[in-house]
Subunit: 307 residues, 2 copies
């Protein structure tokens, strides 16, 4: 066996092995499917402006909405005019900024265990883990889904803001229950911390129903000038499979800087860098050259049903 | 009697008459006291930025806060560092913008009669008049005052966002009850639609307790270039008394334009014009030349107690 033939067989074998544990939505072996997903829609006008633009141009294929936020009505109005847009609910039990925050949609009196000392949803994931009652988490998250539906959003999927619902078996049970109850696909990974081999034992079983193999997203510590290079480095070596690339879009303006001033990570400049990335010709050319197939949650769910 | 002497006597008589029905806080006859009051603090980052700057420089003497809004935590943090700032509660049962809105602080389930079809506080005053139950109005407004106090705001007064609480005897009764219950001064006018001779009969009696003779504010229809002239024209002829000049401060930026895009009146450009006005040397020179005495609600209340 020549060295080249050995390499070809090894690659084929790796693809077969990968296909064996691939997400249920996956069909074409060797294909790399990518949801480009914008989180936090509804949070602020700067996030809405950037995300609407990205969805309208196809620079991202999906987004999920923070329903309790003040700019949700702008999202609802946009969603009514864009019924084909791929929009999920970014189920939220945290309100992480300092000077700009939100309370539970279902009301402070209805879900007191979701409040911190300042009367808003907890700043950090730990605040939820320590205090939130699962029945109140469920009540609040149902209110968010119901409110979005009533407001005219054609919901394609569910995911978890700050991944808080993956933090304990009880929170994850609520997340699973909501997907069953509303018959909506939800973000769970075959690999990665949201369900797979890297997850705690009580979470690992969930991988059987995952539509996504792995979530990929940029880590803190990258200079703005290295943004594109970091994304290329992250995406290029991915084996065949279905991926969700999470981006955080926004304009680096006064509103966004005011909201995120004490959060350099996932803050205003970060979101401008992500927005500049997805709209850049270089990034889109890279995705084409790498033969990524861009998909939405609606398409993943459809493929799953026809499997 | 010469023409000049007749004029002098007439002016003196007018001053005596004016003094007779003057607001209770008034002491020095002939003096014109002016609260320069910024409404809607907390609504957005653009409003907060402009209003903090104006309060810190003394360009305005007072402001009132929209507690249910997402940027309230920024106000609370600022208020803790500025305990002498004159800050009231802008009691809110309306959420008037289209794409950017707020629900009741006490929760949607707690005060359902305060919600419109979209699940937010009513867009217009009529929505409150038609649907709101007075007991739910009281519940919500107590929640707003209590939340601000708990958050560290040293509350100096109460007023009514969009003057909605002056629309019916039942709403006004709630407004009166809150001032009594919390022992806080509240905006009522001797003249004008908020309590005096121009008000409906059930409101007119309230003038006896008013600390302000009249609210003055710019009307729609003024070009930005005529802004200063319009304020001069409004303020110059005022007789001795105590006035509240209401201004709406903000920066005309993307956030503010996004929030107010379909409201040319009291919208983004309007707020920039008001902000430019209060910070201008010309306006401050005018106030000095006209011998207006700038006062705060805290000072008005103190004077009332020593009367």
């Amino acid at each position: 066996m020549t060295r080249n033939r050995f390499r070809a067989v090894a690659i084929a074998l790796a693809a077969v092995l990968a296909a064996g544990v691939m997400a249920r939505g996956e069909r074409a072996q060797g294909e790399r499917r990518l949801i480009i997903h914008a989180d936090d829609l509804g949070m602020s006008h700067a996030v809405n402006r950037a995300t609407f633009e990205a969805l309208e141009h196809g620079w991202v294929t999906s987004a999920s909405i923070l329903v309790p936020c003040p700019w949700f009505p702008e999202v609802a109005a946009w969603a009514k005019k864009h019924q084909d847009a791929d929009l999920g609910i970014h189920l939220a039990v945290n309100s992480e900024w300092t000077g700009f925050r939100w309370g539970p949609l279902s009301g402070r009196g209805a879900v007191p265990s979701l409040l911190d000392d300042q009367g808003y949803m907890a700043l950090l994931e730990e605040g939820v883990v320590q205090r939130a009652r699962p029945d109140e988490v469920e009540k609040e998250l149902r209110a968010q889904i119901d409110f979005a539906r009533t407001s005219g959003v054609n919901i394609t999927h569910l995911d978890s803001h700050m991944a808080t619902l993956f933090r304990t078996p009880e929170l994850f049970a609520v997340y699973r229950k909501l997907a069953d109850s509303y018959r909506l696909p939800q973000l769970i990974e075959v690999y990665g911390e949201r369900g797979g081999a890297e997850a705690p034992p009580w979470l690992a079983n969930a991988a059987k129903t995952a539509l996504v193999d792995r979530v990929v997203s940029i880590d803190p510590g990258v200079a703005a000038s290295d943004w594109l290079a970091a994304y290329k480095k992250m995406l290029e070596p991915l084996p065949p499979g279905t991926y969700q690339l999470i981006v955080h879009l926004g304009y680096d303006d006064e509103e966004m800087r005011g909201a995120t001033w004490d959060h350099p990570n996932w803050g205003s400049a970060w979101r401008q860098s992500d927005f500049d990335l997805v709209k850049s010709a270089e990034f889109r050319d890279f995705l084409k050259a790498q033969k990524f197939t861009l998909v939405s949650w609606r398409e993943l769910a459809k493929n799953k049903k026809t499997m």
